[in-house]
Subunit: 199 residues, 2 copies
DNA sequence: AATTTCGGACTGAACGTTCATTCCGTATGA
DNA sequence: TCATACGGAATGAACGTTCAGTCCGAAATT
C-alpha cells in the first residue's frame, strides 16, 4: 500500500501499478472527496494511463470500495488490544485509545479517507457489512463494560456515539489546525471521554 | 422558508418561487449532497424551469451558500438562552442542550444539511466567517466556565470538540435508525456530555 | 369598455465543458 | 509470432449555465 510494492509476474519483477493506483486514489479521495476526484487525476498521480486503471478495477466505485474495505480492516486491526487476563476495562480503554490516536496520526490520509467516505452512497453492500461487523464488535465491548457495572447503564449505541463522536471531532479540529495534540491533551481527551461513559 | 410563502408584487399576490427553490434545494442537498444534486433536479422539485433558478441566484454555489448562512444563523439563534442572573452554568448547559435537540429533531433537513456541508469546498468567505463568529461565541462560553472552575481546565477547543462530537454522532445514529431518542436517552446523553467536560 | 402595447418573469432546448469509460494502436517479453 | 500490458485519444452521457422566445398582468390608447 505504499506505491512501491512489487509483484512477480511470470518470473519477472514488475512495478505493481495496482498499488500505485490505490495509493494515488487514497490521497486524492481523502483530500478532494470522491466526486471531486476525476479518474484522470488518479491516473496522472499514479503515473499510468487512465485506461490502465480499468485493467485493475471494474470502475471508480469498485476502486473506492476496495480502498474503504482495506483501510477499515486495517484500522480495526490496529486498535485491537491483545487481552490479558484480569486487565481492567479502564486499561483496555486506554490502550485502545492510544492505538487509535497513533493510527490516525500516522495514517492521516487513510483516516481522513475513512471519515469522509463513511456515509458515501457509493459504498456497496460488502463495505457496509464490514462496517456493521466492526461496529458490532465495539458494541460488544461496551456491553461487557456495562454488565461489569464499570460503564454507564445506557444504550451501548449511545456509548459508541459518545466515544466516536469525541474522537472524530478531536481529530478534525487537530487537522483543521485549531487544536494541538500533545500527549497531555490526548490524555485529557481520553480522560474526559472516560468520564462521559464510566458509571 | 416553507415553500408556500407569498410576496406582494404590484398589489398582486404571487407565489414566491425563490422560497420554493430554497426549500427544494435544502431537501435535495441534505439528502443527496451538493455534487449529487443536479440543478435540473432542484428545478423539477421546485416546479420551476431550471433557468428560473438563475434569476434568483448567481449560480449553484451562491445557492448553497445562501442556504448555509440562513440555517447556520437560525440554529445559532434557536439554541440561544436568555441569560438570567445567577443562573448556574449547568442549567445554562441543560437549556442549550434541550434547544439544540429540539432544533435538530424539528428541522431534520436543515440540520442534516448543515452537518453535511460544514466542510464543503464550495463554502465561500462569508459563510466561513459566520462559522468562525458563531464558533467563537461558544468558545467564550466554555472559557467562562473554565474561569469559574466549573469546567475542566483544558483547551476550550477540546471542550468544544467533545460537545459537538457527542451531539452530532448521537443525531447521526438516531437518523440512521440505530438509536432511539426518548427524553430519557436525551437526558442520559446530556448527563454524559456534562460528565466529560465538568471539572 | 375594448383593444393594443409593454415589461419582465419565466421556460426549457441548446451549448460548451467535464467526466467516467471504452477502444485501439503500440510496446514488450515469451 | 503471439499474448498481454499499457497509454491516451475517442466517445457519449451528464452537468451547470445561457438565451431566444413565450406568456401574462398592467398600463396606455382608442
Amino acid at each position: 500500500m505504499n506505491g512501491r510494492l512489487k509483484s512477480v509476474f511470470g518470473g519477472r519483477i514488475v512495478l505493481d501499478k495496482r498499488e500505485d493506483i490505490l495509493q494515488a486514489a487514497l490521497e486524492l479521495f481523502a483530500e478532494r472527496g470522491y466526486y471531486g476526484t476525476a479518474v484522470s487525476l488518479i491516473a496522472e498521480k499514479a503515473r499510468v494511463g487512465s485506461g490502465t486503471i480499468y485493467r485493475y478495477f471494474q470502475d471508480k466505485e469498485q476502486l473506492v470500495n476496495e480502498l474503504y474495505r482495506y483501510w477499515k480492516t486495517e484500522v480495526a486491526n490496529a486498535v485491537k488490544v491483545e487481552y490479558a487476563e484480569n486487565m481492567p476495562l479502564r486499561t483496555l480503554f486506554h490502550e485502545t485509545w492510544k492505538r487509535w490516536v497513533d493510527f490516525a496520526m500516522n495514517n492521516r490520509e487513510a483516516y481522513s479517507f475513512l471519515v469522509a467516505h463513511h456515509h458515501g452512497p457509493y459504498l456497496d453492500k460488502v463495505s457496509m457489512e464490514i462496517n456493521e461487523k466492526i461496529h458490532g464488535e465495539y458494541l460488544a465491548f461496551f456491553e461487557v463494560g456495562r454488565q461489569a457495572q464499570v460503564i454507564k447503564d445506557i444504550n451501548p449505541e449511545l456509548i459508541m456515539a459518545i466515544v466516536t463522536g469525541i474522537f472524530s471531532e478531536m481529530m478534525r479540529e487537530y487537522w483543521a489546525g485549531h487544536l494541538q495534540l500533545t500527549p497531555e491533551i490526548i490524555e485529557q481527551a481520553e480522560e474526559a471521554c472516560w468520564h462521559a461513559i464510566r458509571r
